[in-house]
Subunit: 124 residues, 2 copies
DNA sequence: CAAATGTGTATATCTGATATATACACTATA
DNA sequence: TATAGTGTATATATCAGATATACACATTTG
């Protein structure tokens, strides 16, 4: 479980954890039944509070990605990757929508956005 | 000066004001030397506090878009629209970048993003 | 099987950003 | 010069993010 958090990011720490756990599930790095690091262990590793890791795990549990048991630990639930794909697609769609609004305000043509898209998607 | 704010939005009120003033400058609705509504008048119209309108105007002043004079009012400064265009382009670029990250996580191909872009940009 | 250790959980609290009420200071004008 | 309109400053309220500490349960180990 490689998880990295950034204090400079404006994204809350617990959201960063949630995102990265989802990524690891999507990549196959985490499979059904796999144990997540304990809230304490993760908190210690990231030098943050247990309450914050708990909050992240709570959100993951609420969204059906993991399951937690008092005294035992937290585990990955059976996952439908297609569901995750749809979630990421929806997020991308929303971001592109906002990008289009900004572009229109600036008088930026759609063709310019297509170029940007190719450059950014390709150039990683 | 038509300004509309949404309480349900997660964007702060003062940021909503800032954005919309920039939009009106970009659209030519507000020109150099034009007087903005007084902080009090705008606050009353939007049913918000003067402090909030002041904060919005402060940000606009800090970014060089307007100028405020105690006892006189707030006025639009000379504007370089190209500067605003660049700002919007930069914002769009950043959004597209994040969208690409999400898409990659979901295994969404770049071609699908191009389709989305056309649909969203066109379909307003 | 009881003690110890490791797990998740709950309560009260701190901090920073957003928004506010109220009072103050300056300018124009009637 | 009084008054009404402008921007400004100080102290306060509220909410989300993050926390410390103490609690409850499960597993391991002597």
């Amino acid at each position: 479980m490689d998880i990295v958090i950034s204090n400079s990011s404006n994204e809350p720490i617990y959201e960063q954890i949630v995102s990265q756990v989802k990524e690891q599930i999507m990549s196959g790095n985490l499979k059904e039944g796999d144990a997540l690091p304990s809230m304490r262990a993760l908190a210690q590793a990231l030098r943050i509070s247990v309450i914050t890791t708990k909050r992240a795990y709570e959100e993951l549990e609420r969204d059906g990605f993991i399951e937690s048991f008092t005294g035992r630990g937290s585990f990955v639930k059976a996952q439908n990757k297609e569901l995750l794909r749809e979630e990421y697609l929806r997020q991308a769609e929303e971001l592109i929508s906002t990008a289009c609004e900004k572009a229109k305000l600036g008088g930026v043509d759609v063709s310019e956005l297509h170029e940007l898209l190719d450059i950014i998607y390709g150039g990683e």
